[in-house]
Amino acid sequence: MLTVKAEKKDNKFQAALDYLVEYRGVREAAILDRDGLLVGYCGAGFSGAEAFAPLSLLMLHNIDAVLERLGENKAGSVVVKTVDSWLTIQAAANLILVVRASSEADDLLRVRIGRAADMIRLHVQEKYPLQVD
């Protein structure tokens, strides 16, 4: 039991995801690498991580390709609002944070997403310093 606790405490990616999912209205959150592979996932959404990860990355790739044609760099974040939910895709170092929330969530969630992205950046910087842009 103690071992499990220690491992959980040390998993800072999971801590960032937990921080997001505990917020009102957040259904699921995931961390992906740039190949669409799942680094971490938390939530009880019906879409499941298998579809959530590659499709979110596909959206980001398509938007980046469009931005490149406009002479812009890669997107820092993308927010997609539908009738009853919103999806945020946020770059965090060389990883991508994806959060899906219901319309119950308010705009303060943006602050949490920013903080979670900082947590991920910091963890990547500490653990893999040479891989950070």
Partner: protein, 111 residues
């Protein structure tokens, strides 16, 4: 189109346009550094690709897409007869832009 010029008065907004889902421009009022045809075609492209992914993911279509890039923000909103695209500066007041877009949509739909 009056609606677009009203929208462009919002602080930090660089221009706006109404574009069909096929990328054809219905009306445009962008600043001189932005090309109408390019922004129009690319807006339609973003909405189409995000729409396809969202439908596969949750069977929902996007109402509004906001893209934050290094030099600015792009708001793409479903306006019924097309896509309302707003190009804004990086540090624009997002809440204010959203409010102005809402008002512009009401006018567009009422026209």
């Amino acid at each position: 189109m009056n609606v677009l010029s009203e929208l462009n008065k919002t602080s930090g907004v660089r221009g706006s346009m109404l574009v069909g889902s096929d990328g054809i421009i219905i009306a445009a009022d962008l600043d001189s550094t932005l090309q109408d045809e390019t922004v129009g075609a690319l807006s339609a492209s973003i909405v189409a690709s995000v729409g396809k992914a969202m439908e596969r993911l949750h069977n929902e279509s996007p109402r509004q897409i906001m893209v934050e890039a290094e030099h600015g923000k792009l708001f793409l909103t479903d306006a019924g007869l097309g896509i309302l695209t707003v190009v804004a500066e990086k540090d624009v007041n997002i809440g204010l832009v959203r409010l102005e877009i809402k008002q512009a949509l009401a006018k567009i739909r009422g026209q």
